[in-house]
Amino acid sequence: MAREGDLKLLGLVVSPFVVRVRMALSMKGVSYEYIEQDVFNKSELLIRYNPVHKKVPVLIHHGKPICESLAIVEYVDEVWGGGAPPSILPADPYERATARFWATYVDDKLFPAWIGVMKAATEEEKAEKVSQTLAVLLHLEEAFAKCSNGKAFFGGDSVGYLDLALGCNLFWFETLREMFDVELIDEGRTPLLASWAQRFGEAAAVKDLVPNVDKAVEHAKKMRRVFVH
């Protein structure tokens, strides 16, 4: 088990990518020093450890930085693999490829769509982005049917890589519901995702790491002030 001082995480409380990494570390029972960043006023520490992108999360292990949340989750799974802590990625190469495919899809297609809802300058733009988000979620509904094989999570009986990849975005969907009265995952359109989201929210492995929606609303308002004209 890593001692504090060996492991640090540069993060932002409301970043889904950071939440994803924190959930992975929690699943492994690993302790670390968490250092909150101000993404509107980037620290020398962040710039030093992620000079290429200057973004969170950054995991610093024995002084060496690892960036990009999905790469960090795979790293965490490999370093603290074997023995008691649960495996995050599936064991079978085919299932690993499938999980990675859909996790990349979440980041490449779902994230830009829902962020677009949050940053929309006009009602038309917002409606378009909601529509895009719903279309992506329909594909993820099909993915859940295939990956879960009738079980509770994408990863089977317990939370796995793809559950983390998608699940870390859920608190933002609640935030968007509160801010704009939009329902992104609903029982009518995506029943499997709706019931999965409920189970994910209650899963012991991750539930204490979901940030308060109020914090996300506050951050969204700040982002809109900065980015929306």
Partner: protein, 230 residues
């Protein structure tokens, strides 16, 4: 008996090349199904409904595996043979990070910089390409390949800048990756394209030049239109 491997691909695609070289390095025989991307087959659309792109790997009767770098990882994990990704977890994380950097920050700006008409937009992409390629140049750190002495995952990720570089620059009449500014990258291009396993998966240079020459007008129209729209 080993399950049959099929690869849906298309001529000249660096993404398909990644999958082919991975299979070749592991000594896995496969059937290459050539796709005409201007007239996509039902087979391709059925197996890759989300992205409708090549490559697509079909292993036995399992559903398709899509996305070239994921195919490389799958081939690395499913078959015996020399490791394609580094063995150390930190080095693996670095390889994944830099592969993503290449996809998002090198390949796209390079393509735009090479094919766009002269102007402010092109200058922007040229600057971005040069700055990002400089980071890649630094990654080589005097090594023959990105991970050391043998070709691997990150070399495959960068392959769009390898055997296609010469043909693209020749047809487009652009020269962005000069030997003076990027000596390590140019040496890497040489080393990569002359590697035995890699060169077995490369089409002849003349065919690549002809292919790009034939598509040049279409490509230029498409990239200039993209810039107009944004």
């Amino acid at each position: 008996m080993a399950k049959a491997v099929k690869l849906i691909g298309a001529f000249g695609s660096p993404f398909v090349h990644r999958a082919e070289v991975a299979l070749h390095l592991k000594g896995v025989p496969y059937e290459l199904i050539r796709e005409d991307l201007t007239n996509k087959s039902e087979l391709l659309l059925r197996h890759n409904p989300i992205h409708k792109t090549v490559p697509v790997l079909l292993h036995g009767d399992r559903p398709a595996i899509c996305e070239s770098l994921l195919i490389v990882e799958y081939v690395d994990e499913a078959f015996d043979g020399p490791p394609l990704l580094p063995v150390d977890p930190y080095d693996r994380a670095m390889a994944r990070f830099w592969a993503q950097f290449i996809e998002q920050k090198c390949s796209m700006p390079f393509w735009m910089a090479v094919w766009l008409d002269d102007g402010e937009a092109r200058e922007g992409f040229v600057r971005e390409t040069r700055a990002n390629l400089a980071l890649l140049e630094a990654r080589l750190q005097g090594n023959r390949f990105f991970a050391g002495d043998a070709v691997g995952y990150l070399d495959f990720a960068a392959c769009g800048l390898a055997h296609l570089l010469g043909p693209i620059e020749e047809v487009a009449g652009a020269s962005l990756v000069g030997a003076a500014e990027f000596p390590a990258l140019r040496r890497w291009v040489e080393a990569y394209t002359s590697d035995e396993a890699v060169s077995a998966c490369l089409p002849p240079r003349e065919q690549l030049v002809a292919n790009f020459a034939g598509k040049k007008d279409k490509i230029k129209m498409a990239v200039n239109a993209m810039v107009q729209r944004s």
